[in-house]
Amino acid sequence: MPTKAFLTEDEMPRQWYNLAVDLPSPLQPPLGPDGNPVSPDMLAPVFPMNLVEQEMSQERWITIPEGILEILWRWRPTPLHRAYALEKAIGTPAKIYYKNESVSPPGSHKPNTAVAQAWYNKEFGIKRIVTETGAGQWGSALAFACSLLGLECKVYMVRISFDQKPFRKIMMQTWGATCIASPSNQTQAGRSILDQMPDTPGSLGIAISEAVEEAVTDKSGNTRYALGSVLNHVLLHQTIIGLEAKKQLEKMGEKKVDIVIGCAGGGSNFAGLSFPFVNDKINGADIEIIPVEPFSCPTMTKGPFIYDHGDTAKMTPLLPMYSLGHDFIPPPIHAGGLRYHGMAPLVSQAIVEGLITPRAIHQLECYEAAVLFAKTEGIICAPETSHAIAATIQEAKKAKEEGKEKVILFNMSGHGLMDMAGYQSFFAGQLHDYELPEHEMGDALKAVENLPKPKIVKTGKW
């Protein structure tokens, strides 16, 4: 029985899949601050026009340029593993497969879009790309991509991450990128913040402001900005994961997959694996597709205090009014589609349609799953990836109870070798799950029950 399915370089998919074309309820066009649709020229100062076109594309399949394939071949196609040892440990009849994106040089799925974005920038004549990063997963992926393509790369890293997470900073430097702490004195936005708060630990918001400012104010026109998640073209580039997985499952003799799982922050690794399967589901396949997030800070699922009623213009997490005082009125709700803050609009709309079903899992269960995975399959996963593994184990145990030989596929989106602090806390017994007392949850739910509900655009097919 094969443990892994490989594809040759010739077998690697030659096109990305654009779910935006097939969503039964189309996305509303993105709106600018004035409420009017965003036009391509509004984005031209930060993105090359070839990527702007992809962002707004209504083509189902978009050809991957040969120049991008040649770079992706350095680590792609990534292997699809059958997790025999994990299956045995659980005692499940389910067949568990995982797509191993940790084999990329920076250790995660993020180079799939970093390489594509850097390539399109270079094609457009851009010499230099700027971005922001927190712990450095995205920054290191972009530094890697720019290095291979001979582009300059500058990364504004949030000050607190810059101080506390030194190794990815060094990775970026090794790949030739300039990594500086944000806020910095190199932009007006940074200087303004430092004038007001010299000891600020920074934030992603400030770092984005600095990166965008640097792109916009480069009078040579040689600098652009890159984003690692949320936007349509980013998710598009990641679909190579799921497209490869489909071919590999066929090679492993699987005619059908029952459950597809990925962890979801901004949505890009989840989308990358799942969107090709969402397409199958739209066309009648019976597949359960699960984005997973931490219970302790949920975005897609309704935690006790999380009411992500929102819309295309002003998405807002509604807060229980009693909890913040009666004088505080949450921002207004506007009609439109539902959006989850920080989540890719395509993923949000797929949730609204019922095509995918989000799940939240407690952190202890996630770390227990990660440790079991490390002990059985050998790979120490990233903290985010542990959510996908925990959900996979839940589904494998359910299959055991039901006596069903389900096929489960999840995205091993990255290794955790740079993120061992969480494991350290777990082994030291410093991580705890907390359950909200039922009466508090009841009060919270009561507090919002009469609030106006958003208009949800969905076909009702799923």
Binding site: G134, T217, S323
Partner: protein
């Protein structure tokens, strides 16, 4: 007392690593991160904490409606263009 919880730690989904509460209460230019309730409600009475230490107008600013990424980007571009010498 405002700093009572400062040493407590949680995983920050925005930055991708563990952080102390001290960061979360200062993330938004000295004010708390808008995800502060989402990330801390399980660990202590964050609602009470916010009521105790922040004014209504500050709470309104902290929890103002987040905007879609594309809208934010366009706004940042406009702001940067205005800052150009």
């Amino acid at each position: 007392m405002m700093k009572f919880h400062d040493d407590k730690k949680t995983y920050c989904r925005k930055l991708g690593h563990h952080l102390t509460f001290e960061y979360c209460r200062r993330e938004k230019q000295g004010l708390p991160c808008k995800k502060i309730i989402d990330c801390w409600f399980e660990k202590f009475n964050i609602q009470y904490y916010l009521q105790e230490y922040y004014k209504v107008d500050e709470l309104a600013h902290i929890f103002e409606a987040p905007r879609p990424k594309m809208e934010t980007l366009v706004e940042l571009i406009r702001q940067a263009q205005q800052r150009m010498p």
